[in-house]
């Protein structure tokens, strides 16, 4: 029997970077594994140097359903009066930062029941603040969905979980449609699976100055947006 924990990632801005730090801070179109593991670790109060705990969290199967695609925003960002490495004088650092505006994700982690139960408590009363890729990008509504912890595999939760969209206009226009755009999904998979795509965001170490990432394989796909998913979603309220 498998256990999954369903989380709602909703915020005006999110940023899920995949490339190394520098002056170009990109974002992926959906949450990265290192980002989700970092968020869960913050909720649990796991320290950056605690490699064992991070390995356990990274071993969880991650499945993401894109309930609302984000709009890509570019921020031309300058930081003035940054001391030079020699300590003599100051310079201006220019960087480009990419954000996802108004994105909405259903994030599901699947794994050992004890760890997931611990996580569901921690998400409710986190040890450290949780945020979506940048310290300022705080959740717009509670992360735990009504489904929360279930005894279903992640792949089943993906195709049955109520739609998280809470805009009444979009909900109405969508339930009136006969042909709907399916919801995009991204699921962890084996390297040998047909259609698997490589992602370099599997966290190995979050230690300051020694951040390391391995690779993992994901399977991009879609799941249909059904009437029950739209109707059940009406009861999803911010608690």
């Amino acid at each position: 029997m498998s256990t999954s924990l369903a989380l709602c990632f909703d915020a005006p801005l999110q940023s899920w970077g995949t490339r190394s730090p520098g002056t170009l801070r990109d974002t992926a179109a959906e949450p990265t594994k290192s980002g989700v593991v970092g968020l869960l670790a913050a909720a649990l109060g796991v320290h950056r140097d605690d490699h064992d705990a991070i390995t356990d969290l990274a071993a969880l199967t991650l499945a993401v359903r894109i309930d609302r695609e984000g709009i890509l925003e570019r921020d031309f960002h300058t930081t003035q009066n940054v001391p030079t490495t020699l300590g003599k004088g100051h310079r201006t650092v220019v960087s480009e930062r990419y954000y996802l505006a108004d994105a909405l994700f259903l994030v599901i982690v699947e794994g050992k029941p004890e760890l997931l139960r611990q996580l569901s408590y921690a998400i409710d009363s986190p040890c450290w603040p949780v945020f979506f890729g940048r310290r300022a990008f705080v959740p717009a509504r509670p992360l735990l969905t009504r489904t929360g912890l279930t005894n279903q595999p992640a792949i089943q939760v993906l195709s049955t979980h109520p739609w998280l969209e809470n805009d009444p206009d979009i909900r109405t226009s969508e339930s009136d449609k006969t042909e709907r755009v399916p919801l995009r999904t991204v699921i962890d998979c084996e390297a040998v699976t047909a259609g698997a795509v490589l992602r370099r965001d599997h966290p190995i170490s979050f230690t300051h100055g020694d951040r390391r990432h391995g690779h993992r394989y994901i399977l991009p796909g879609t799941t249909p947006l059904t009437d029950p998913m739209i109707n059940d979603g009406d009861q999803v309220q911010c608690s």
Partner: protein
């Protein structure tokens, strides 16, 4: 020739799907044109070129084609206003050597590299440096019958600006395009070559929102 202006509704799920995948965007654009038989791809047969322009509250799409488009099949909430279609003949009539115009072009400015280890196989990479991008445009101008005038500061009168990377998926392979947007002035030198460039587009990735040259009267200087 026809030019369509679509004021896009950023809250539409269909638009958001297209925004996340440039291949879906291409398919939505092509849905306005009838199927073609023959070996020529439908986009080429209808001479379709398009571009997504950011505005202060969302996005506007400009779509140019030989064939008159029918936007009736578009999702009901895809646009915020009725699609505006107008003939492009006045612009084509205005083309004359020596005329100065202001332009905007989203281009996939690329170069072929030939690294030693690949032995003859070329790899296409995008120009990222502004100077390389301007040099690319000036070279395209030689082919397509226009020159970039010199501005007051002695530099070419064009501004390259970075555009977010466009990605998409087609038949299990990934599409990645790093385009550049050029805003500036040009002077037409060759009527035939310039008309050809205007109707067929400039550079690569024309199915994916690159290569459409839009013109306007020059800014007063």
């Amino acid at each position: 020739m026809f030019l369509t202006k679509l004021s896009l509704n950023v809250r539409s799920r269909e638009f958001r799907r297209d925004f996340a995948d440039v291949h879906d965007q291409h398919r939505t654009v092509m849905s306005a044109y009838p199927d073609t038989d023959g070996d020529t791809p439908a986009r080429q047969a209808h001479g379709v070129l398009w571009r997504l322009d950011p505005t202060h509250i969302g996005y506007t799409a400009y779509i140019q084609s030989h064939t008159e488009p029918t936007w009736a099949d578009l999702a009901r909430d895809y646009t915020t206003a009725t699609p505006e279609v107008r003939p492009l003949q006045p612009v084509l009539d205005a083309i004359a050597p020596g005329r100065k115009l202001s332009f905007r072009l989203l281009a996939n400015a690329t170069q072929d590299t030939r690294p030693v280890e690949l032995k003859g196989k070329t790899r296409r990479v995008a120009h990222h440096k502004p100077d390389d991008q301007i040099a690319w445009l000036i070279r395209k101008g030689e082919q397509h019958g226009f020159v970039i005038p010199t501005a007051r500061d002695g530099q070419p009168d064009v501004n390259p600006s970075p555009v977010p990377r466009m990605t998409g998926r087609k038949d299990n392979s990934t599409i990645t395009i790093d385009p550049v947007r050029f805003d500036g002035h040009l002077i037409i030198t060759d009527h035939t070559a310039f008309t050809h460039a205007l109707t067929t587009g400039i550079g690569r990735a024309k199915a994916y929102g690159c290569g459409l040259l839009t013109l306007a009267p020059p800014r007063n200087t």
